[in-house]
Symmetry: C2
Subunit: 471 residues, 2 copies
């Protein structure tokens, strides 16, 4: 009797039904190629409907319906893809496959000392991944310049790579998502407060829109200027949560809490399959939960915030004296965490005690989130995931002690596998989602392209997968 939780049903019309069915078909095909008959079985739609949907999707270049017969290959991980044949109409028994390169989405995370960029394709697969050192707090304008430069570079690389482009029907960009470590007014794309960047009221959306307006990007057509429609700025933990949620798609992800550790501690909630953003977009501000009323002073000016107990600074101070190399900012964080992991595995008392104290504080705060939302999964992200072999058992025992529901409400503690790319990946997912919800946002292929699709000898040179990490 869960009807009480349903939303007020909206008006439904035939066009909306059609869009919803196209979306269902695209999401089903994201799991892998299948015949029309399989697609009908998977979606509970009739075969006639599925045929009509596949024809429309092919006309928009979103699926291809015949196996490749040429050397033209898509650079996507699925080696059989041939976007050059996107418009071809295959036999009914032949597999239908998502033309993943037709739509791309760019995600960028800016953080204290780096920029991370990701390109996802329509299938949600990573096409490009870069991470570069950058001193964001040094200047707002310089950061906006550099993010705009990174976006155009990512777009160029992804498009060269997509092997989809024809003269008339290039791959299109669903949008650009930008993740920032702070409170973001999502409506305007303004970073209201970002203590670690020393930013306050930075109109990041507008700064980027001005810069991107000067570049010829292959945006998806929008109702207004594409850099208004298609450029999203949001909080990094919120977007990292979206990335966790957009991952494997299992039922566990419909109710999860992410807690991610860095200099700050961020959080995000997914409830019943929906990311909780809050009325002003400020949900998930867990780093400053007043966990220890008489605790240490936090960067925000308050006392005893959760991140003073289990942020990276607290861990490092507990684990090693000031002159220890784990404090050296010029070393990559992964290396410094490896040092600590080595010591802990060798039984070093101070390191183990530090892990235990941080784990207890992490579990204490996490128990509040679990008591409040009763998630199926608590995902530990950022440095918490890296130290998961030591932190997870402590967190689990704190949850067992502190959560009121029987068996801690059934929550399972897992470790994120997205590493430092989580927020950028989530930012790309965020701008891809509207296309998945409404595939008719993608324009139909032009006549020339349809011809091209029937002439598979218009070969596109084979290119390697560009997924790579620049340290």
């Amino acid at each position: 009797m869960n009807g009480a939780t349903r939303q007020l049903p909206g008006r439904a019309d035939h066009a909306a039904v059609r869009r919803a069915n196209l979306a269902v078909a695209v999401r089903a095909l994201r799991a892998g190629e299948r015949s029309r008959a399989q697609l009908a079985a998977d979606t509970s739609l009739t075969k006639a409907t599925v045929s009509s949907l596949v024809t429309e999707l092919a006309g928009r270049g979103l699926v291809h319906t015949a196996r490749p017969t040429t050397t033209a290959v898509d650079a996507a991980p699925a080696p059989n893809a041939s976007n050059a044949r996107a418009g071809a109409v295959g036999r009914p028994g032949q597999p239908v496959e998502l033309a993943t390169g037709r739509v791309l989405a760019i995600g960028v995370e800016l953080n204290v000392d780096y920029l991370c960029g990701v390109v996802l394709d329509l299938g949600g697969r990573e096409r490009v991944l870069t991470r570069t050192a950058f001193d964001v707090p040094a200047g707002v304008d310089a950061t906006a310049d550099e993010v705009a430069r990174l976006v155009t570079e990512l777009a160029d690389r992804a498009l060269a790579d997509s092997a989809f482009a024809t003269a008339n029907d290039p791959a299109v960009l669903a949008g650009v998502g930008v993740a920032a470590p702070g409170l973001v007014d999502g409506t305007r794309g303004t970073v209201r407060v970002a203590p670690n960047l020393r930013w306050r009221d930075v109109p990041l959306h507008d700064l980027l829109a001005d810069r991107l307006a000067g570049h010829v990007l292959p945006w998806l057509p929008g109702e207004s200027r594409p850099w208004d429609d298609r450029l999203l700025v949001d909080n990094e933990a919120t977007l990292a949560t979206l990335a966790e949620f957009a991952g494997d798609g299992g039922p566990d992800e419909r109710d999860l809490v992410l807690v991610t550790g860095g200099v700050g501690v961020g959080g995000g909630l997914v409830v019943d399959g929906r990311l909780v953003r809050g009325s002003g977009g400020f949900a998930g501000e867990v780093g400053h939960l007043a966990v220890a009323p008489d605790g240490d002073r936090c960067g925000c000016g308050r006392r005893g915030c959760w991140e003073t107990l289990c942020g990276l600074g607290a861990l490092l101070d507990l684990a090693a004296p000031p002159n220890d190399p784990v404090h050296r900012h010029d070393l990559d964080l992964d290396e410094r965490l490896d040092l600590l992991l080595d010591r802990a595995r060798n039984g070093d008392e101070r390191t183990l005690t530090a892990f235990d104290r941080v784990g207890r504080a992490l579990g204490h705060g996490a128990s509040m989130l679990v008591n409040l939302t009763n998630p199926r999964v608590l995902v530990l992200g950022g440095y918490f995931a890296r130290l998961g072999e030591f932190l997870r058992p402590v967190v689990e025992s704190e949850l067992a002690a502190r959560v009121v529901a029987p068996d801690a409400g059934g929550v399972r503690v897992t470790l994120s596998r997205l590493g430092l790319a989580a927020a950028a990946t989530g930012a790309a997912h965020a701008v891809l989602a509207p296309v998945l919800d409404d595939p008719t946002l993608v324009p139909p292929l032009t006549g020339q392209a349809s011809t091209a699709a029937q002439s598979p000898t218009s070969a596109v040179p084979e290119t390697p997968t560009l997924a790579e990490e620049i340290g």
Copy 2:
């Protein structure tokens, strides 16, 4: 660009569209009678569709389409209603009105020392309200007997009152919702843990189903036994939250947090228009948030739980010595709170200090909920609402200090107006919701009833509104 938060679209078919449109029409009519033309304008549906919907709703007895011409009146607050004419077909310009008495819903709250019962009609209006002293912790079976007795009494009174009944087409019960103060497994309707009742693993749903099976209740037809389909048991704070949310229907209610004070402290979340239940139904367990790590021992066995700081016990202990009448359990709680209010208004130092300390603790915990979910509104319920004139300003200043988002994320602090009936009211809303989501659950009127509807002289005796409170 909120598309990222949308759910995966489900398969839509014509029957689903029809149900959704019927639901939209019923919800629009809950706001008041209107002509078909107004209804079309309000719902963005075509006039032809609206006409067809109204005809179907009339055929199910859910609307009447002509003004009454007889003395038969509905007992609902809307004095023009005439359910005896439910099937009549009026002229296009005539108003369409919800036949609110066609479907009724019963809600019961059992708590430490009372049972509260509510009957709502299809319009969400209160038809009956009772509250009686009962010693619930004294016995599980005795409580189940008494709740079953109360349910049948409420059904009898509401049906006698509804003025809808004809021999063939009586008013029907959407269901019975039961609110309990503890952790409830909503799937099985089992109360897992209810410390204040000293209950553990009480199969309340099954105990009530056994007892109600012996009564001839006019249940809405169900796919299985009606007492499985239509009998819901859930946590009292969750259901109280649903009642707040089901209230006026303004946009504020789409993102709210309820914190309700009694012996325990309960909470509930509404996010983006949806009640958060949690993966196991255990969401909103805020009373045992570990707010003061080294605080007093709580009834749950832990230390420093939020309710040890701002539950009713904490307030009374702070406010008055043990021999003070505010501690007398034989006095009604409202009277005891009035004593405290009088003292505070007269400037009594001890009372004011107690209010201040409780308010600060309330604000401290509430700031965690606000940081996490960024609601539009924080609703104070239970005794917090009663003492709102003193507690609210303190809570507001704590939120201003402790919430990280600018202006406390824009949250507004309001006082519940539902008093002690909140949970029972929410329980009734919960079982009414499936009918609002799918009006086709209500069977069509039989032929005889249609005839009756065209013979409005089959008058039903006028009865007074039965809304009343038994102290």
